[in-house]
Symmetry: C2
Subunit: 168 residues, 2 copies
């Protein structure tokens, strides 16, 4: 983290997303949250990290709006940490990342899988275009391009790839 950031990074959705979720522990805490864990001591036991490290990671997740604090006990007041809508919207990213980890293993070698809760069948996550249903794996068919709000720096990065909507 830190260091110099190129001009287009502040507007790049990948860079800003990575800035929020790119910390190792952050994604593991979110994984715990997706699995239903909500309390400080649960995260700490699962992750095996120091209180100060966990406190600082949770603070970042609260500040980024991915988790929110909710009292679950009074006298003394204790809080739990639950996913916000924004945090929940990261689930496809975690699913895609776990799927990538598993694709390198034969099915019988996998230790953690994503299943259909009703049938117990393992699912096979793929990323598609919602409009056409086509898979987005092919880096020649689907390319990053400057968007409507792109700066000059971003347009210079993608000179030949202007979306139609800005070509009017």
């Amino acid at each position: 983290m830190g260091g110099r950031i190129r001009a287009e990074d502040k507007e790049c959705p990948l860079s800003t997303a990575i800035e929020q979720v790119g910390e190792w522990w952050t994604l593991l805490i979110l994984h715990d949250a997706f699995d239903g864990y909500t309390r400080f001591d649960q995260f700490q036991e699962n992750l095996g990290i120091s209180s100060s490290m966990l406190t600082s990671r949770l603070k970042a997740l609260l500040a980024d709006g991915l988790l929110e604090r909710r009292p679950y006990q009074t006298n003394p007041v204790r809080h739990e940490y639950v996913l916000t809508d924004l945090g929940r919207s990261l689930r496809p990213v975690l699913v895609a990342l776990a799927a990538w980890g598993n694709t390198r293993l034969a099915p019988e070698e996998r230790s953690m899988i994503l299943i259909d809760a009703d049938t117990g069948n393992e699912v096979e996550p793929v990323v598609i275009d919602a409009k056409t249903g086509r898979r987005l794996d092919d880096s020649n068919a689907y390319v990053f391009a400057a968007g409507p709000a792109a700066s000059t720096a971003m347009r210079n990065r993608y000179p030949d790839r202007m979306p139609l909507s800005t070509n009017r």
Copy 2:
């Protein structure tokens, strides 16, 4: 990234994936590679990082098998860095992450988008199950579970979620 790792982490596809790609610069270098950049000085100019930082990141990407070195010039020999099949297989993760960044912006506020190279139309990446075509956003319908190779620790994490294939 150091620190204590819980027992099940070594077998968790999410943790192992994060270990390989969870470094901020790593994903930005891969983004450059997906956009067609291959040379040390291109990465350095795009990313604005020190030679030593970039050298160490590229070493990690080579060691993890995500990039490979290829000579592009002799006398003196110079190498470029190109994506391996394994590196290319990470593309859906980058696409999902960039899409997450963009979902928080109105279409006209987006600076970098993924487009269909033929039509120039912006695509809308979503993660689905390849077998059923259903979206995997719903964390109640699709849950993580212990896989066939799960350790006791992993099975303890998911006691009620055994895939059918291991319930014979």
